[in-house]
């Protein structure tokens, strides 16, 4: 992960290292598993997809003369008879951050070949993700009951619904896929696939705990996107 060593090749630090890595007539990303490099490239392209969504939201919200619905009222939730602004969204944020933390520590224990801890933390991450999706389903059904549609809503500018459903829906879809894979990898870790050297995904090569880090990258990315959605859609 941090300091790879390659026989007969001097790895320089910083920008000089970047130049010599890139010009080395070898693999460019020294010490990076191919699956990890591919996951990063995928996440980069996914960043562009989410950016396009958020930029189109900016364009839509900025160009309408009709007043935009106030998110802290639209997403308020009644707690003990008092409407609390953004309560559900705040809870969702904390749940997702919690699951991101357990994931990061699961990756660490994976690299230390601590099978049990890695497995339990992956399971905790998966359950956190599941809770998040459940809360989002509740949020969606509440808003649909209140009459929010992609083409109209009772609170203000009609574009609100389409951006809301598209952006949070696409993010929720990512979370759902992540949860499925988290459960699969929880099983793989508990079943000891990496100790037995079972083959990994899309390859005949033996699986390794680096796969947990790759899964972790995806999961942290989902959390990362939520940071931006939380800021731009719910708080702005």
């Amino acid at each position: 992960m941090s300091e790879p060593k390659i026989d007969g090749f001097e790895l320089k630090p910083g920008f000089k290292g970047m130049a010599s890595d890139t010009a080395s007539d070898q693999t460019m990303f020294k010490g990076v598993h191919w699956g990890k490099a591919m996951m990063w490239i995928f996440l980069l392209s996914d960043t562009f997809v989410f950016s396009c969504f958020l930029i189109s939201y900016m364009k839509g919200r900025g160009s309408t003369p009709v007043e935009w619905p106030n998110p802290s009222e639209v997403f308020a939730l009644e707690a003990f008879g008092v409407p609390v602004p953004l309560l559900l969204i705040a809870l969702m944020t904390f749940v997702l951050i919690t699951s991101s933390g357990t994931m990061a520590i699961a990756v660490k224990y994976g690299y230390e070949k601590n099978r049990k801890m890695c497995g339990w933390l992956l399971l905790a991450t998966a359950l956190g993700g599941l809770t998040f999706v459940g809360m989002q389903a509740y949020e969606w059904s509440k808003l649909i009951h209140e009459g929010v549609r992609p083409w109209e809503n009772p609170f203000g500018a009609a574009q609100f619904g389409s951006f809301f459903f598209m952006i949070t829906g696409f993010h929720g879809f990512h979370v759902s896929i992540g949860v499925i894979f988290l459960f699969i990898y929880t099983y793989k870790v508990f079943a000891g696939h990496y100790e037995k050297g079972k083959k990994g995904w899309f390859t005949k090569l033996k699986g390794d705990y680096v796969e947990i880090e790759i899964l972790g990258l995806y999961w942290h990315f989902v959390d990362l996107v939520w940071v931006f959605i939380f800021a731009f859609f719910y708080l702005w």
Binding site: G17, A37, S51, G62, P65, S72, L224, A231
Partner: protein, 119 residues
């Protein structure tokens, strides 16, 4: 054959030196605190430039912490880090372009709502 296997195994152990758990717990706590602060921005109903700058500040701080430590970019070599971060300038350009565009769209909408369209 067995010999080379052994060498590979020892090499792998070197590669997988991990970070102390404390760093993850620290980042985790920081993320909680920052999320709490950004929620407080809404709670106290800050408005205008103060609201927007605080939202952006906490957002970039959180995103940076997640990428640097949870996603390990802080420890990666520059070849990977730069490949990942430079494309973000394209997104920044796109945001800039579309910001100019929505202002123009809003202006022309308001203008023709007042003046009336057509000849």
């Amino acid at each position: 054959m067995e010999n080379t296997n052994n060498i590979e195994k020892t090499d792998k152990k070197d590669e997988t030196s991990t970070h102390k758990i404390g760093i993850y717990l620290w980042i985790w706590t920081l993320l909680f605190v920052l999320s709490f602060f950004s929620y407080m921005v809404d709670w106290y109903q800050f408005q205008g430039m103060l609201r927007w700058s605080l939202i952006l500040f906490f957002m970039f701080l959180k995103a940076g912490l997640i990428m640097a430590f949870f996603m390990h970019l802080f420890w990666e070599r520059y070849a990977l880090v730069n490949v990942l971060l430079w494309p973000m300038t394209a997104i920044a350009c796109f945001i800039f372009l579309m910001a100019a565009e929505f202002q123009y769209t809003l202006f022309s909408r308001l203008f023709y709502f007042v003046v009336g369209g057509g000849a």
